[in-house]
């Protein structure tokens, strides 16, 4: 049986099904990260000093660089979708490839950041600040990896759909893009909350 409303819009919602689906999923994601932000506020207001004395010093230049990298990946992602809308598959390939490259760069910087902390004994068990730092950024990293797997599939084997069903493939890129922008959005709030304030 064919799944309905992949390309044509459903009359009652005015959307194709996957678009409503991803927004409902993103709503659940807002609550997932919302719970952690709530825990962060709870730990912060409950602590006599924040961040706790003797905790790790976070690397602001590295995190700033990563913010720039992630925002750039969001732009290349939306440009990948726009390229398909303009029937330019070659440009799509280029922009999606760049999105994956920037995603990988983010992970590499995060690896150096984590390993520098861990090698000095700054584990999640060290104090409440590091516990919430690793939990929130770790969950964010898992989201980056998940997004990379989907984007990687759509960049290589999944892109064959462009030949058989270009409209449906463009919708897939839009949905993957909405997820990717959400991951960027979360980082935009994580960065000042954990590194700057």
């Amino acid at each position: 049986m064919q799944i309905p409303y992949n390309e044509e819009l459903r009359p009652d919602t005015g959307l194709y099904n996957a678009k409503l689906g991803i927004w409902i999923f993103l709503a659940s994601e807002v609550m997932l990260f919302g719970g952690l932000f709530s825990a962060y506020i709870m730990l912060r207001v409950g602590a006599p000093v924040w961040p706790p004395l003797g905790t790790a010093q976070l690397n602001i230049p590295m995190a700033t660089f990563n913010t720039v990298v992630l925002i750039t990946s969001s732009v290349t992602m939306v440009m990948a979708w726009a390229s398909l809308k303009m029937n330019n598959f070659g440009k799509f390939k280029m922009y999606m490839g760049l999105t994956l490259l920037f995603s990988a760069m983010f992970l590499v910087v995060k690896y150096f950041e984590y390993s520098a902390k861990l090698s000095h004994g700054f584990t999640p068990a060290h104090d409440t600040f590091l516990a919430i730092y690793y939990t929130m950024t770790g969950l964010h990293v898992l989201h980056i990896i998940g997004g990379m797997l989907v984007n990687g599939y759509l960049w290589m084997p999944g892109s064959k759909m462009w030949e058989s069903n270009p409209e449906r493939f463009t919708n897939r890129i839009e949905v993957a893009g909405l997820y990717w922008h959400f991951v960027d959005l979360v980082w935009i709030f994580l960065f000042p909350s954990l590194y700057l304030l």
Binding site: G34, S38, I60
Partner: protein
């Protein structure tokens, strides 16, 4: 969406990208500015930092995620999410009314009766 519409969108994406870069640098710069109203009181810095982050977030949501022009049902889904998200973030406000673990709580804890000694 026509080819011209997309071209127009692409121009907007570039402008938003520039704005996000400037705002990122501004966030970092603002974190070094002393907004303290009193020693150790970071409310000013937190307000400025989160305000800039909110502007950046709004740009990503409205322009890249096209929330500036979306169907009604998505606004309903997100509106409901914002309500629950606000409740979730407000929970720490109840912290002061929570007496569990409060060492200044003068009343001695209730005795458990009927227990085996």
């Amino acid at each position: 969406m026509s080819h011209d519409d997309i071209q127009h969108h692409v121009k907007t994406y570039i402008k938003v990208f520039m704005a996000l870069m400037v705002l990122t640098l501004l966030t970092v710069y603002a974190s070094y500015v002393d907004f303290d109203l009193a020693p150790g009181f970071k409310a000013g810095a937190i307000f400025v930092g989160l305000f800039i982050a909110t502007v950046k977030g709004a740009l990503v949501a409205t322009q890249f995620m096209h929330l500036n022009n979306e169907k009604k049902i998505i606004y309903w889904v997100l509106g409901l999410t914002i309500v629950f998200f606000t409740v979730c973030l407000s929970i720490p406000v109840l912290w002061d009314s929570n007496l569990i673990g409060d060492t200044n709580f003068e009343q001695s804890p209730p005795k458990i009766e009927g227990g085996h000694h």
